[in-house]
Assembly symmetry: C2
């Protein structure tokens, strides 16, 4: 009578990406892996663009080695990654052989489930990556990025799911990166996909920023969702995700169950409860924020625009920029606002306010208008396309953007070969291909081994003591004995 | 087609009670009152036992004056309070005239809605308070304290609702003080009450500690709940409550709506976002905790028992005590674990572990076993009743506990008259009656005016700077030039 709901645990990837700027070191994860492996998750998300980037940029850690370690420590689990379609883990389109090579190597190093998405929801940008995954025999998951606009309807999302299934998706992910998915649309979309395409597996991914999405997961489950994404409670909430244990308890007494092992969950929780404070300096103070429902602007995008304005001495014009964003978004055909479209639209809105609407276009925005990122759900404004043509001196395209790229694997190998520390593997070539500016430095310093940017328990203790001390110090006069050159002076200190 | 869901805003009472030990000063609330008054809440909870206690114990603030100020600042709102039935705001039963006097004075000073509860769910302990409320023409709300035990069933709660309605309750509150109410029982209980008694108003109060209760509110609404309790987002979550704005957004697209004014909510939110950090030292680190589902022990009760054990040098025996709690709870007839039953059961469990089961009973536990707190849902263990009789040298009672009390108003007036600072009002008599140990000191110092125990923005800034400084200081040697009596010395400081 009860239906089993699968759970994807996010603590090893999206949870620390969302809560602590992806800074968690591998050494702070290894001790939890045995419990994660045995808890009964449908999959364990543990790899993606930001974790890969952070490994080589901040942690001097080889991301491929991290993947192999996960594979070794969690032999019974499906390891899952987030893949930016034709962008792989980087910020540009890669030529198809690179896509194939990357997927092949990821599978070989231990990846099982590839959640393939595209910021614009353009199926053509996901197709090759999905084919590559299927060629390795691994699980190809097609993704719908959820957003709100006058053009984004339940019917549209259901149609997109059909396109992904036609491309061979083994399951469909409904990805709500901005915590915009309210209970009713969650229900409607999942129900729509199930009603239209039969019993296709649906995974639902929500952030918790707006505080409503555990209810959305409940409604999605009621509509037939098969797997939902959560993070262990000690690494949950705020800009992160709903707590895994709360999901388990929420379903008690209903016709659904996760089948997760609560004893294991509590061990995982306790482990990360000790880890989280080490990275407190990377955390934002946001506990819950429903502003995005009215502004339609994700928090990260807003703070980006604010710092761009400040850098131009125009910090007081954020309201104007916030009103410009919907205009730019509409002109661009209503792209979902995720990396990289959120940055592209946001920066153009700032330019429009500071210099006049479309007087100066960024190269990226011109590319977006001219089709070089792919197609959105809406039509792009023809007048703005004309301006883009003029400024960028490029013609608009209608074909799949990656079709314009020449084979580049040999060139990428050549580039890698020039780097100090290159070990001759395809993995190193791919690392450099993903983050060309950063990889060289990493490969050169790789031998020094990983570094942990979290604080030690001792440092936390000292800072706490200092803060406590200061709070006492400011309240009244304190006397110190200061000894110098054998003579002791009594010094009184008080707030000036 | 849409049904309007009322909202009780908790920020002025339970939110700061749960998040910051009830320490918020009136001056940190007044500036938000105009927006709260205009936002469209069903009621504004703003008074109760702990806020009253905290006013006179920590804030040197007259709680009656606080109530009058709320009345003045929120002329369009229903003000709501939490009343411990025959215990009023104190920790013992009061004789009926005192109950009447207290309710009369509360109404006179501005209270509109009285949520009347009893820790044991004994209707006889709520009856007089409810009658007194009705005599003033105000709203009497009967309360079900929600707990989980082998005896607590949906049917039992529905029956209790009927008893409260028979006593004249204008509405029923389902009060989930430990965040134990899961979605399915929330639905079942609300549905059961509506199905049995027709369209009686049901208010649902949940804490957010376990992370599941926004879903429970959703299900309660689907089952017909009329009003739900939430707290503005900047004063929400953790041991507190679900965020008001999230509730509003959650219902969009459904057949329910709160009708709240979001612009007002955002102003209220922004106000308390600046207030909350001032009281950070009173906050617990708990973000979400589902332990209570397995332990059945509320967090506050657990920490109480831990400190009792530590004081006896037996801090390592907490596991034994946690296993003893269910035994004691069963022997006592399965009381819900809220103040004061949680302390009474917890302390006895500690005594049992340290000195042998029921070798030594606390006076309170003996009273509980002998019926002096009223009746629970379960039968009490006859063997343990016998032990209680012997140790307390008292007989068990079956009548309403307050029936044993002699008239006490005149005596209370006499007691108050002896106090320095007593202003001759019934309100002062009642203040002293509620908290006799604390009121005397408060009345004597009342003229000095309220004090704010929160930190100033300046203090917070200084502490932050100190903490930042320390984190830099400990990482390497720092040189200072120290000038004394005209001579400059170079001093090097580094971690020892």
């Amino acid at each position: 009578m009860t239906r089993k709901i699968g759970v994807t645990e996010l603590v090893l990837r999206d949870a620390h990406q969302s809560l602590m700027a992806t800074r968690m070191a591998m050494e702070d994860m290894v001790d939890a892996c045995a419990d994660i492996d045995a808890a009964g998750f449908w999959s364990v998300e543990c790899w993606g663009g930001a974790t890969f980037d952070s490994c080589i940029r901040f942690l001097n850690e080889d991301p491929w080695e991290r993947l192999r370690t996960f594979r070794e420590l969690m032999p019974n689990s499906r390891l899952q990654m987030l893949l930016r379609g034709q962008n792989l883990l980087g910020y540009r389109h890669y030529e198809d052989t690179v896509v194939e090579k990357f997927v092949e190597k990821s599978a070989e190093n231990g990846m099982d489930v590839f959640r393939v998405f595209d910021a614009l929801n353009d199926p053509r940008n996901m197709e090759r990556a999905m084919q590559a995954v299927k060629a390795t025999g691994k699980h190809a998951q097609g993704t719908i990025c959820y957003t709100i606009s006058p053009l984004h309807t339940t019917e549209g999302y259901v149609k997109l799911a059909g396109q992904l299934l036609d491309m061979g998706a083994e399951s469909i992910a409904l990805k709500d990166m901005a915590a915009l998915l309210k209970p009713q649309p969650a229900y409607d979309i999942v129900k729509g996909i199930k009603d239209t395409y039969g019993d296709v597996q649906i995974n639902v991914h929500c952030h918790s920023t707006t505080g409503v999405t555990l209810v959305s997961l409940m409604r999605a489950i009621e509509a037939g969702a098969d797997v939902v994404d959560t993070a262990i409670s000690s690494m949950s909430l705020g800009p992160g995700h709903n707590p895994t244990e709360s999901l388990v308890e929420m379903l008690e007494g209903t016709e659904y169950t996760t089948g997760l092992d609560m004893d294991r969950l509590l061990k995982i929780r306790d482990h990360f409860a000790t880890v989280r404070p080490k990275y407190a300096e990377f955390e934002s103070a946001t506990l819950v924020d429903t502003d995005i429902f009215s502004s339609q602007i994700p928090g990260g995008m807003l703070s980006n625009m604010e710092s761009q304005l400040k850098a131009q001495g125009a910090g007081d014009r954020i309201r104007e920029v916030m009103e410009e964003v919907p205009v730019v978004k509409k002109d661009a055909g209503y792209p979902p606002l995720v990396t990289p479209s959120s940055q592209i639209v946001g920066t153009q809105a700032v330019f429009n306010v500071l210099m006049g609407r479309y007087k100066v276009m960024t190269g990226e925005f011109a590319d977006l208008m001219l089709g070089y990122y792919g197609e959105c759900m809406g039509e792009r404004n023809p007048e703005v396309i004309e301006i883009a043509k003029g400024q960028a001196k490029k013609d608009p395209i209608t074909e799949r953007p990656a079709d314009l790229l020449a084979p580049e694997w040999d060139h990428l190998v050549e580039e890698a070969t020039k780097l100090a520390g290159y070990n001759g593997t395809d993995e190193d070539v791919l690392t450099n291909a993903m983050f060309p500016g950063v990889a060289g430095k990493f490969l050169a310093s790789r031998a020094e081994g990983p570094k942990n940017v979290g604080k030690t328990a001792e440092q936390i203790e000292k800072e706490k003591a200092a803060a406590d001390g200061s709070s006492k110090a400011v309240r009244g006069p304190i006397k110190y004995n200061v000894t110098m050159a054998g003579r002791t002076h009594t010094v009184q200190v008080e707030p000036a």
